[in-house]
């Protein structure tokens, strides 16, 4: 499940950014993903997983691993509530 989630997130990032290879830990800025594109990515993740990412978290979504961790913590918070 976790691998599947990460791969799905990788696909979303790749689709929105139109960048073929999205390594786990490379900073999005190094890949050419700017902050505006980052918001597009977050919006697509929200649509796909029916979650809400707070504005304060946007600045932390700087790599695929960080996105994955934040989505996982969002799932956990939803499950606990």
């Amino acid at each position: 499940m976790t691998t599947e989630l990460k791969e799905n997130l990788r696909r979303i990032v790749a689709d929105v950014s139109e960048i073929d290879v999205i390594p786990d830990d490379t900073d999005f800025r190094e890949l050419g993903i700017d902050s505006m594109m980052g918001i597009e990515i977050v919006a697509e993740i929200e649509r796909t997983y029916k979650i809400s990412v707070p504005e304060s978290e946007l600045k932390n979504m700087t790599s695929l691993t960080r996105v994955y961790e934040l989505v996982q913590s969002n799932f956990a918070a939803t499950a606990a509530s």
């Binding site: 505006m36 597009e40 977050v42 919006a43």
Partner: protein, 141 residues
């Protein structure tokens, strides 16, 4: 005048070409159209209930232009009366894309079409942030 374009609010703004808008060739300089487009966007927002001055002052946000594309089809000249239609063609959490169409009133000749993309930033830092949901909703996104 507020109307609709494909189900979204649109605004028709009337512009009288000033002498200062024209260049040595006697036509409106290409840079002036960006000023017209800005007027169109501001008036569209006002018409749907968003006063841009208050938007910046009260929310501490701004909507800078990040991309613009214009197709110049025919020139406008001093004293021409123009009709500029502006509407939101795409709105998301990351950006607002405004489309426009400018015609000369007297003969309805199409002068230009174009799109202008705006992001949303916090002021004064200029950090990118989400476009407020109420703004998107009022513009029909």
């Amino acid at each position: 005048m507020l109307g609709t374009h494909e189900g979204r609010p649109s605004y028709r703004h009337t512009i009288r070409v000033a002498y200062v808008d024209t260049d040595a060739a006697g036509v409106v300089h290409h840079s002036q159209y960006f000023r017209y487009l800005e007027q169109g966007r501001v008036e569209l927002m006002r018409a749907v209930g968003i006063d841009y001055l208050s938007f910046e002052r009260d929310r501490g946000l701004a909507l800078p232009v990040v991309e613009a594309q214009l197709k110049y089809r025919a020139p406008a000249r001093f004293d021409d009366l123009l009709q500029l239609d502006t509407w939101l063609s795409l709105g998301s959490r990351a950006k607002l894309v405004f489309a426009s169409r400018l015609v000369r009133s007297v003969d309805s000749v199409l002068l230009h079409t174009g799109t202008v993309t705006l992001a949303c930033v916090t002021m004064p830092k200029g950090a990118i942030c989400s476009v407020p949901e109420d703004l998107r909703e009022k513009l029909g996104a």
